[in-house]
């Protein structure tokens, strides 16, 4: 879903660049509150994992392909602003070093695939797990639903950015959202698998400690976050 250079109307690229930069600056500031020393290398690891996973594009129906985005997963695992920072690092490295996503579209890409899924996904996940029973199934089911929804929402926001003065007609919105409703299933599967692995091995590293399944023993939990 990376928006390349030249696809957006210049004014849209400037506006999203400014807002995206502001969001990353705010994420840097808020990260001090969300993160403890122990999780610093895990943040780097998650960014590295998402980068690697995004290199593996998988064919889906209709002559298209997809890969993990990981924004909602990062937000659920680390909190909204550390999650935003994690994926912003990925998009920065991709845009500068690999021409994957345009440099002039970096702000838009960070807003669509970083801020929206990480921040929105975090609060949606908390809302879901707040009303569901605190079981492993509910927890991981909420990860799956949040991840799927984050892709659909991100595609809608990307459509708006490209449509404002750009080449994407309003008629393309259903196509864009329809395709992403399908590829979101892969996002849900991978994100849920990764969170399940961390939940099993190191639940103390996860944010949302108050939402962990009741069966996770107190001795395996981390600080409340």
């Amino acid at each position: 879903m990376h928006i390349p250079d030249g696809l957006m109307y210049p004014a849209t690229a400037v506006a999203t660049g400014v807002v995206g930069a502001g969001a990353v600056a705010y994420a840097l500031k808020k990260s001090r509150e969300e993160l403890d020393e122990k999780r610093i290398p895990v943040v780097g690891l998650t960014a590295a994992f998402i980068f690697a996973a995004q290199m593996v594009t998988i064919p889906v129906a209709g002559g298209t392909s997809t890969h993990l985005l990981g924004g909602a997963m990062a937000g659920i695992m680390f909190g909204p602003w550390v999650g935003t920072l994690v994926v912003s690092v990925v998009y920065l490295v991709q845009a500068i070093g690999f021409a994957d996503g345009g440099i002039t579209a970096l702000g838009a890409n960070i807003l669509c695939m970083g801020v929206l899924p990480a921040v929105g996904g975090y609060y949606f996940f908390r809302a879901l797990t707040g009303v569901l029973p605190r079981t492993r199934t509910s927890y991981l089911g909420s990860v799956a639903v949040t991840s799927w929804l984050s892709i659909v929402a991100a595609s809608a926001l990307a459509s708006v950015f490209i449509a404002i003065g750009g080449p994407l007609p309003l008629a393309a919105f259903p196509i864009m959202i329809g395709i992403h409703a399908l590829v979101g299933i892969l996002e849900a599967v991978i994100s849920t698998s990764v969170v399940a692995a961390v939940l099993t091995t190191r639940p103390d590293l996860l944010a949302n400690q108050d939402r962990l399944p009741e069966k996770v023993p107190a001795s395996a939990r981390g600080e409340a976050a």
Partner: protein, 115 residues
């Protein structure tokens, strides 16, 4: 109560994770599909919706330069294993380095810890 958790080293977890990330980036990425992603597909499909010859239009649209990877990349994706190696190391270093700098530069959490 949290002693057992705090005493568990993070190093093995991170090392195993990095090996997995490197394997995905350097090996699994060789099998990546080359077909357009969902955004490109939506643009191609919408551009050809009312075209008289949809087949020819699709072929033409798939060659649009704006939908292709720009040639300015420092490392072409063709050199997949090297791209994976450099990318994984760069994102790990930048991600961990950035949050470490932010933490060390002081702030509410650091202040709480010092109390």
């Amino acid at each position: 109560m949290t002693n057992s958790v705090e005493s568990r080293s993070i190093v093995p977890f991170v090392l195993v994770g990095l090996v997995v990330a490197l394997m995905i980036g350097m090996v699994a990425s060789n099998f990546a599909a080359s077909s357009p992603d969902a955004l490109q597909r939506a643009i191609i499909d919408s551009a050809c919706r009312d075209a008289p010859d949809e087949e020819a239009c699709l072929v033409e649209q798939e060659g649009e330069p704006v939908l292709e990877i720009a040639p300015r990349a420092l490392l072409a994706y063709q050199v997949t294993w090297l791209s994976g190696l450099v990318g994984v190391i760069a994102t790990f270093a930048l991600g961990a380095g950035l949050v470490m700098l932010v933490r060390r530069s002081g702030g509410p959490a650091s202040a709480r810890r010092a109390e």
